[in-house]
Amino acid sequence: MRPAGTLAIVDIEGGVIEPRADEDRPGRERELVARARAGDRDAFEELYRENVGRVYALCYRLAGEASLAEELTQDVFVRAWQKLASFRGESAFSSWLYPLTVNVALSERRSRRRRTARILATEDPTAFEVGVPPAGTEVGFDIERAIAELPPGARAVFVLHDVEGYRHGEIAALTGVATGTSKAQLHRARRLLREVLQR
Protein backbone atom coordinates (compact mmCIF):
# COMPACT_ATOMS: atom_id res chain seq x y z
CA MET A 1 0.00 0.00 0.00
CA ARG A 2 1.56 3.24 -1.11
CA PRO A 3 1.38 5.95 1.57
CA ALA A 4 -0.64 9.00 0.70
CA GLY A 5 1.30 11.81 -0.86
CA THR A 6 3.90 9.62 -2.54
CA LEU A 7 4.45 9.85 -6.21
CA ALA A 8 3.52 7.54 -9.04
CA ILE A 9 5.51 4.37 -9.65
CA VAL A 10 7.99 4.20 -12.45
CA ASP A 11 7.24 1.64 -15.15
CA ILE A 12 10.13 -0.49 -16.26
CA GLU A 13 9.71 -2.09 -19.68
CA GLY A 14 12.32 -3.95 -21.61
CA GLY A 15 15.06 -2.84 -19.28
CA VAL A 16 14.42 0.83 -19.99
CA ILE A 17 12.85 3.06 -17.37
CA GLU A 18 9.86 4.74 -18.93
CA PRO A 19 8.68 7.32 -16.42
CA ARG A 20 5.05 8.14 -16.67
CA ALA A 21 3.37 11.19 -15.32
CA ASP A 22 1.28 10.78 -12.23
CA GLU A 23 -2.23 10.70 -13.60
CA ASP A 24 -3.34 13.01 -10.82
CA ARG A 25 -0.29 15.25 -10.97
CA PRO A 26 -1.65 18.69 -10.33
CA GLY A 27 -1.05 21.34 -12.91
CA ARG A 28 0.49 23.12 -9.97
CA GLU A 29 3.69 21.09 -10.27
CA ARG A 30 3.97 21.99 -13.93
CA GLU A 31 3.49 25.63 -13.02
CA LEU A 32 6.10 25.43 -10.27
CA VAL A 33 8.62 23.85 -12.63
CA ALA A 34 7.98 26.50 -15.27
CA ARG A 35 8.45 29.29 -12.72
CA ALA A 36 11.57 27.68 -11.28
CA ARG A 37 13.06 27.30 -14.75
CA ALA A 38 12.51 31.01 -15.19
CA GLY A 39 14.56 31.64 -12.03
CA ASP A 40 11.82 31.80 -9.40
CA ARG A 41 13.47 30.47 -6.23
CA ASP A 42 10.22 30.55 -4.26
CA ALA A 43 8.75 28.10 -6.77
CA PHE A 44 11.85 25.94 -6.47
CA GLU A 45 11.52 25.97 -2.70
CA GLU A 46 8.02 24.51 -3.06
CA LEU A 47 9.40 21.79 -5.31
CA TYR A 48 12.03 21.18 -2.65
CA ARG A 49 9.44 20.84 0.11
CA GLU A 50 7.35 18.43 -1.95
CA ASN A 51 10.29 16.17 -2.79
CA VAL A 52 12.81 16.47 0.05
CA GLY A 53 11.36 13.53 2.01
CA ARG A 54 11.90 11.13 -0.84
CA VAL A 55 15.29 12.53 -1.77
CA TYR A 56 16.53 12.46 1.81
CA ALA A 57 15.31 8.87 2.27
CA LEU A 58 17.29 7.79 -0.77
CA CYS A 59 20.40 9.75 0.27
CA TYR A 60 20.23 8.41 3.82
CA ARG A 61 19.99 4.80 2.71
CA LEU A 62 22.76 5.12 0.14
CA ALA A 63 25.04 7.09 2.45
CA GLY A 64 24.39 5.08 5.60
CA GLU A 65 24.69 8.12 7.85
CA ALA A 66 22.48 11.13 8.55
CA SER A 67 25.07 13.94 8.35
CA LEU A 68 26.31 12.84 4.93
CA ALA A 69 22.70 12.34 3.82
CA GLU A 70 22.00 15.99 4.66
CA GLU A 71 24.96 17.15 2.59
CA LEU A 72 23.93 14.96 -0.32
CA THR A 73 20.35 16.20 -0.18
CA GLN A 74 21.57 19.76 -0.44
CA ASP A 75 23.85 18.80 -3.35
CA VAL A 76 20.92 17.16 -5.13
CA PHE A 77 18.74 20.24 -5.03
CA VAL A 78 21.55 22.58 -5.99
CA ARG A 79 22.35 20.30 -8.93
CA ALA A 80 18.65 20.13 -9.84
CA TRP A 81 18.49 23.93 -9.89
CA GLN A 82 21.54 24.05 -12.17
CA LYS A 83 20.14 21.47 -14.56
CA LEU A 84 16.49 22.42 -14.50
CA ALA A 85 16.66 23.58 -18.10
CA SER A 86 17.27 19.96 -19.14
CA PHE A 87 14.02 18.75 -17.54
CA ARG A 88 11.59 18.42 -20.40
CA GLY A 89 8.43 18.21 -18.29
CA GLU A 90 7.17 15.11 -20.08
CA SER A 91 7.14 13.13 -16.85
CA ALA A 92 6.70 13.84 -13.17
CA PHE A 93 9.39 16.04 -11.68
CA SER A 94 10.25 13.26 -9.25
CA SER A 95 10.95 10.85 -12.11
CA TRP A 96 13.67 13.24 -13.24
CA LEU A 97 14.89 14.09 -9.76
CA TYR A 98 15.42 10.62 -8.30
CA PRO A 99 17.93 9.27 -10.86
CA LEU A 100 19.80 12.55 -10.36
CA THR A 101 19.73 11.82 -6.61
CA VAL A 102 21.24 8.37 -7.16
CA ASN A 103 23.95 9.90 -9.35
CA VAL A 104 24.88 12.52 -6.76
CA ALA A 105 24.96 10.00 -3.91
CA LEU A 106 27.06 7.47 -5.82
CA SER A 107 29.43 10.14 -7.17
CA GLU A 108 30.06 11.38 -3.67
CA ARG A 109 30.83 7.83 -2.53
CA ARG A 110 33.43 7.50 -5.29
CA SER A 111 34.93 10.90 -4.46
CA ARG A 112 35.24 10.01 -0.80
CA ARG A 113 36.86 6.73 -1.70
CA ARG A 114 39.51 8.57 -3.72
CA ARG A 115 40.04 11.24 -1.07
CA THR A 116 40.32 9.06 1.97
CA ALA A 117 41.64 5.82 0.40
CA ARG A 118 39.56 3.81 2.85
CA ILE A 119 39.19 0.13 2.27
CA LEU A 120 35.51 -0.15 1.48
CA ALA A 121 35.03 -3.88 0.86
CA THR A 122 34.94 -5.27 4.35
CA GLU A 123 32.72 -7.62 6.26
CA ASP A 124 33.35 -5.67 9.45
CA PRO A 125 30.30 -3.50 10.10
CA THR A 126 32.11 -1.54 12.82
CA ALA A 127 34.39 -0.07 10.16
CA PHE A 128 31.57 2.19 9.05
CA GLU A 129 29.88 5.04 10.81
CA VAL A 130 26.26 4.57 11.65
CA GLY A 131 24.45 7.81 12.26
CA VAL A 132 21.32 8.21 14.31
CA PRO A 133 18.42 7.01 12.18
CA PRO A 134 15.97 9.75 11.34
CA ALA A 135 12.81 10.14 13.37
CA GLY A 136 9.74 8.24 12.28
CA THR A 137 11.57 5.06 11.33
CA GLU A 138 10.58 2.96 14.37
CA VAL A 139 8.59 0.56 12.24
CA GLY A 140 11.60 -0.24 10.03
CA PHE A 141 14.25 0.58 12.58
CA ASP A 142 16.17 -2.68 12.54
CA ILE A 143 16.42 -2.91 8.76
CA GLU A 144 17.44 0.75 8.46
CA ARG A 145 20.31 0.21 10.87
CA ALA A 146 21.24 -3.08 9.25
CA ILE A 147 21.35 -1.47 5.81
CA ALA A 148 23.49 1.37 7.16
CA GLU A 149 26.01 -1.16 8.45
CA LEU A 150 26.41 -2.93 5.11
CA PRO A 151 29.63 -2.45 3.14
CA PRO A 152 29.03 0.53 0.80
CA GLY A 153 28.97 -1.44 -2.46
CA ALA A 154 26.50 -4.00 -1.13
CA ARG A 155 24.43 -1.25 0.48
CA ALA A 156 24.13 0.73 -2.73
CA VAL A 157 22.98 -2.27 -4.77
CA PHE A 158 20.51 -3.44 -2.11
CA VAL A 159 18.95 0.00 -1.82
CA LEU A 160 18.76 0.49 -5.58
CA HIS A 161 17.47 -3.03 -6.34
CA ASP A 162 15.33 -4.10 -3.41
CA VAL A 163 14.17 -0.72 -2.09
CA GLU A 164 14.08 1.44 -5.21
CA GLY A 165 13.33 -1.25 -7.81
CA TYR A 166 16.17 -0.72 -10.31
CA ARG A 167 17.27 -3.64 -12.45
CA HIS A 168 20.85 -4.89 -12.47
CA GLY A 169 21.54 -3.46 -15.93
CA GLU A 170 20.40 -0.04 -14.75
CA ILE A 171 22.41 -0.35 -11.53
CA ALA A 172 25.46 -1.28 -13.58
CA ALA A 173 25.03 1.82 -15.73
CA LEU A 174 24.55 4.02 -12.66
CA THR A 175 27.43 2.64 -10.64
CA GLY A 176 29.91 1.83 -13.38
CA VAL A 177 30.23 -1.83 -12.33
CA ALA A 178 29.43 -4.89 -14.40
CA THR A 179 25.98 -6.50 -14.16
CA GLY A 180 27.56 -9.61 -12.66
CA THR A 181 29.17 -7.50 -9.95
CA SER A 182 25.81 -5.91 -9.17
CA LYS A 183 24.26 -9.38 -8.74
CA ALA A 184 27.14 -10.52 -6.55
CA GLN A 185 26.81 -7.43 -4.36
CA LEU A 186 23.07 -8.00 -4.00
CA HIS A 187 23.66 -11.62 -3.03
CA ARG A 188 26.16 -10.46 -0.43
CA ALA A 189 23.84 -7.77 0.94
CA ARG A 190 20.90 -10.13 1.24
CA ARG A 191 23.04 -12.75 2.98
CA LEU A 192 24.38 -10.24 5.51
CA LEU A 193 20.95 -8.78 6.17
CA ARG A 194 19.41 -12.23 6.67
CA GLU A 195 22.04 -12.90 9.31
CA VAL A 196 21.07 -9.73 11.14
CA LEU A 197 17.36 -10.42 10.91
CA GLN A 198 17.89 -13.92 12.20
CA ARG A 199 19.41 -12.69 15.47
Binding site: T6, R41, F44, Y56, F77, W81, R190
Partner: protein, 212 residues
Protein backbone atom coordinates in the same frame (compact mmCIF):
# COMPACT_ATOMS: atom_id res chain seq x y z
CA UNK B 1 20.52 -30.10 -6.44
CA UNK B 2 22.60 -29.58 -3.35
CA UNK B 3 21.86 -27.01 -0.66
CA UNK B 4 24.83 -24.96 -1.88
CA UNK B 5 23.32 -24.93 -5.39
CA UNK B 6 19.95 -23.81 -4.05
CA UNK B 7 21.43 -21.05 -1.91
CA UNK B 8 23.25 -19.74 -4.99
CA UNK B 9 20.00 -19.72 -6.95
CA UNK B 10 17.78 -18.46 -4.15
CA UNK B 11 17.98 -14.79 -5.16
CA UNK B 12 16.92 -15.51 -8.73
CA UNK B 13 14.26 -17.95 -7.51
CA UNK B 14 12.65 -15.37 -5.24
CA UNK B 15 13.05 -12.64 -7.88
CA UNK B 16 11.32 -14.83 -10.46
CA UNK B 17 14.20 -14.79 -12.89
CA UNK B 18 15.03 -18.50 -13.07
CA UNK B 19 14.25 -20.59 -16.12
CA UNK B 20 11.26 -22.86 -15.72
CA UNK B 21 13.42 -25.99 -15.45
CA UNK B 22 15.71 -24.47 -12.85
CA UNK B 23 12.73 -23.11 -10.94
CA UNK B 24 11.23 -26.58 -10.69
CA UNK B 25 14.52 -28.05 -9.47
CA UNK B 26 14.76 -25.47 -6.70
CA UNK B 27 11.12 -26.01 -5.77
CA UNK B 28 11.69 -29.75 -5.53
CA UNK B 29 14.67 -29.26 -3.23
CA UNK B 30 12.84 -26.77 -1.02
CA UNK B 31 9.98 -29.23 -0.66
CA UNK B 32 12.27 -31.67 1.11
CA UNK B 33 14.88 -29.46 2.80
CA UNK B 34 13.90 -27.59 5.96
CA UNK B 35 17.17 -25.65 6.20
CA UNK B 36 16.85 -24.22 2.71
CA UNK B 37 13.16 -23.50 3.26
CA UNK B 38 14.18 -21.45 6.29
CA UNK B 39 16.64 -19.48 4.15
CA UNK B 40 13.88 -18.83 1.65
CA UNK B 41 11.57 -17.70 4.44
CA UNK B 42 14.22 -15.31 5.79
CA UNK B 43 14.86 -13.89 2.34
CA UNK B 44 11.18 -13.28 1.70
CA UNK B 45 10.85 -11.71 5.16
CA UNK B 46 13.80 -9.43 4.39
CA UNK B 47 12.26 -8.34 1.10
CA UNK B 48 8.95 -7.72 2.86
CA UNK B 49 10.77 -5.49 5.36
CA UNK B 50 12.40 -3.63 2.45
CA UNK B 51 9.05 -3.16 0.73
CA UNK B 52 7.51 -1.82 3.96
CA UNK B 53 10.22 0.79 4.51
CA UNK B 54 8.81 4.31 4.47
CA UNK B 55 9.41 6.03 1.16
CA UNK B 56 9.70 9.42 2.84
CA UNK B 57 12.07 10.41 5.60
CA UNK B 58 12.23 13.88 7.13
CA UNK B 59 15.71 15.34 7.44
CA UNK B 60 16.62 16.15 11.05
CA UNK B 61 16.47 19.87 10.17
CA UNK B 62 15.19 22.17 7.46
CA UNK B 63 17.82 22.12 4.71
CA UNK B 64 16.30 24.87 2.58
CA UNK B 65 18.19 27.81 4.17
CA UNK B 66 21.54 26.20 3.32
CA UNK B 67 20.36 25.34 -0.20
CA UNK B 68 19.04 28.86 -0.74
CA UNK B 69 22.38 30.29 0.37
CA UNK B 70 24.23 28.16 -2.16
CA UNK B 71 21.84 29.22 -4.91
CA UNK B 72 22.41 32.87 -3.94
CA UNK B 73 26.17 32.36 -4.10
CA UNK B 74 25.74 31.27 -7.68
CA UNK B 75 24.29 34.65 -8.54
CA UNK B 76 20.89 35.67 -9.84
CA UNK B 77 19.60 33.31 -12.50
CA UNK B 78 23.01 31.71 -12.70
CA UNK B 79 22.74 28.52 -14.67
CA UNK B 80 25.51 26.99 -16.65
CA UNK B 81 25.14 27.54 -20.37
CA UNK B 82 26.52 24.07 -20.98
CA UNK B 83 25.67 20.90 -19.02
CA UNK B 84 27.79 20.73 -15.88
CA UNK B 85 29.95 17.92 -17.24
CA UNK B 86 30.61 19.43 -20.65
CA UNK B 87 33.58 21.50 -19.54
CA UNK B 88 35.41 18.42 -18.32
CA UNK B 89 34.42 16.44 -21.40
CA UNK B 90 35.65 19.10 -23.79
CA UNK B 91 38.94 19.30 -21.88
CA UNK B 92 39.26 15.52 -22.07
CA UNK B 93 38.59 15.67 -25.79
CA UNK B 94 41.39 18.21 -26.22
CA UNK B 95 43.76 15.93 -24.34
CA UNK B 96 42.73 12.94 -26.43
CA UNK B 97 43.26 14.87 -29.64
CA UNK B 98 46.77 15.68 -28.44
CA UNK B 99 47.34 12.02 -27.57
CA UNK B 100 46.12 10.82 -30.96
CA UNK B 101 48.38 13.17 -32.87
CA UNK B 102 51.40 12.15 -30.79
CA UNK B 103 51.03 8.45 -31.55
CA UNK B 104 53.64 8.18 -34.28
CA UNK B 105 55.48 5.15 -32.91
CA UNK B 106 58.37 4.01 -35.10
CA UNK B 107 58.37 0.42 -36.37
CA UNK B 108 61.60 -0.40 -34.53
CA UNK B 109 61.33 -1.75 -30.98
CA UNK B 110 61.67 0.89 -28.28
CA UNK B 111 64.46 0.81 -25.75
CA UNK B 112 63.62 -0.78 -22.41
CA UNK B 113 62.43 1.69 -19.81
CA UNK B 114 65.33 3.09 -17.85
CA UNK B 115 63.39 5.59 -15.85
CA UNK B 116 62.71 5.65 -12.17
CA UNK B 117 61.12 2.20 -12.22
CA UNK B 118 64.08 0.64 -14.00
CA UNK B 119 62.24 -2.53 -14.99
CA UNK B 120 61.41 -4.00 -18.34
CA UNK B 121 57.82 -3.68 -19.49
CA UNK B 122 56.96 -7.33 -19.99
CA UNK B 123 57.05 -8.17 -16.28
CA UNK B 124 53.83 -6.28 -15.57
CA UNK B 125 51.92 -6.14 -18.82
CA UNK B 126 51.78 -9.51 -20.49
CA UNK B 127 49.36 -9.90 -23.40
CA UNK B 128 46.88 -12.14 -21.53
CA UNK B 129 46.50 -9.68 -18.66
CA UNK B 130 46.12 -6.76 -21.07
CA UNK B 131 43.52 -8.68 -23.02
CA UNK B 132 41.67 -9.44 -19.80
CA UNK B 133 41.76 -5.81 -18.68
CA UNK B 134 40.68 -4.55 -22.10
CA UNK B 135 37.95 -7.20 -22.17
CA UNK B 136 36.51 -5.76 -18.99
CA UNK B 137 36.40 -2.25 -20.42
CA UNK B 138 34.91 -3.45 -23.68
CA UNK B 139 32.14 -5.22 -21.80
CA UNK B 140 31.38 -2.13 -19.73
CA UNK B 141 31.43 0.00 -22.90
CA UNK B 142 29.01 -2.36 -24.60
CA UNK B 143 26.56 -2.26 -21.70
CA UNK B 144 26.74 1.52 -21.37
CA UNK B 145 26.39 2.00 -25.12
CA UNK B 146 23.23 -0.12 -25.07
CA UNK B 147 21.83 1.89 -22.16
CA UNK B 148 22.66 5.19 -23.86
CA UNK B 149 21.25 4.12 -27.21
CA UNK B 150 17.96 3.17 -25.62
CA UNK B 151 17.65 6.62 -24.05
CA UNK B 152 19.14 8.91 -26.68
CA UNK B 153 15.80 10.57 -27.23
CA UNK B 154 15.92 12.12 -23.79
CA UNK B 155 19.11 14.10 -24.51
CA UNK B 156 19.08 17.48 -26.17
CA UNK B 157 20.54 17.71 -29.71
CA UNK B 158 23.41 19.85 -28.44
CA UNK B 159 24.28 17.37 -25.74
CA UNK B 160 24.10 14.47 -28.19
CA UNK B 161 26.39 16.30 -30.56
CA UNK B 162 29.02 16.83 -27.84
CA UNK B 163 28.75 13.24 -26.63
CA UNK B 164 28.94 11.73 -30.12
CA UNK B 165 31.87 13.92 -31.08
CA UNK B 166 33.83 12.99 -27.97
CA UNK B 167 33.07 9.30 -28.44
CA UNK B 168 34.29 9.58 -32.02
CA UNK B 169 37.54 11.17 -30.84
CA UNK B 170 38.07 8.53 -28.18
CA UNK B 171 37.30 5.67 -30.56
CA UNK B 172 39.83 7.10 -33.00
CA UNK B 173 42.38 7.44 -30.20
CA UNK B 174 41.82 3.82 -29.19
CA UNK B 175 42.37 2.70 -32.76
CA UNK B 176 45.63 4.66 -32.94
CA UNK B 177 46.91 3.30 -29.64
CA UNK B 178 46.09 -0.27 -30.66
CA UNK B 179 47.93 0.16 -33.94
CA UNK B 180 50.96 1.51 -32.12
CA UNK B 181 50.81 -1.29 -29.55
CA UNK B 182 50.58 -3.89 -32.30
CA UNK B 183 53.91 -2.64 -33.61
CA UNK B 184 55.44 -2.37 -30.17
CA UNK B 185 53.75 -4.91 -27.91
CA UNK B 186 54.69 -4.68 -24.28
CA UNK B 187 55.39 -0.97 -24.50
CA UNK B 188 54.43 0.12 -21.01
CA UNK B 189 53.55 3.69 -21.90
CA UNK B 190 51.29 2.57 -24.72
CA UNK B 191 49.64 -0.02 -22.52
CA UNK B 192 48.92 2.62 -19.91
CA UNK B 193 47.59 4.89 -22.64
CA UNK B 194 45.29 2.19 -23.97
CA UNK B 195 43.77 1.40 -20.59
CA UNK B 196 43.52 5.07 -19.67
CA UNK B 197 41.70 5.82 -22.92
CA UNK B 198 39.30 2.96 -22.26
CA UNK B 199 38.61 4.39 -18.81
CA UNK B 200 37.85 7.78 -20.32
CA UNK B 201 35.41 6.24 -22.78
CA UNK B 202 33.61 4.35 -20.05
CA UNK B 203 33.43 7.53 -17.95
CA UNK B 204 32.00 9.58 -20.82
CA UNK B 205 29.40 6.91 -21.58
CA UNK B 206 28.54 6.61 -17.91
CA UNK B 207 28.04 10.35 -17.52
CA UNK B 208 26.04 10.61 -20.73
CA UNK B 209 23.79 7.76 -19.58
CA UNK B 210 23.23 9.42 -16.23
CA UNK B 211 21.98 12.52 -18.01
CA UNK B 212 19.12 10.60 -19.60
Amino acid sequence: MTCADVLRELDDYVDGSLSEGRFQEVELHLHSCGACREEERLLRALLAHAAAMPRLLDPPRDLWPAIAERLREEGPGARRSLPWWAGGLLAAAAVLLALSSSLRVPARPTQPSQGGEGRLAQASFTSPSLLEAEGGYLKATEELNAALESRRGSLSPETLRVVDENLRIITEALRSVRQALAKDPGNRALTHMLLSTHRKKVEILRRATLLT
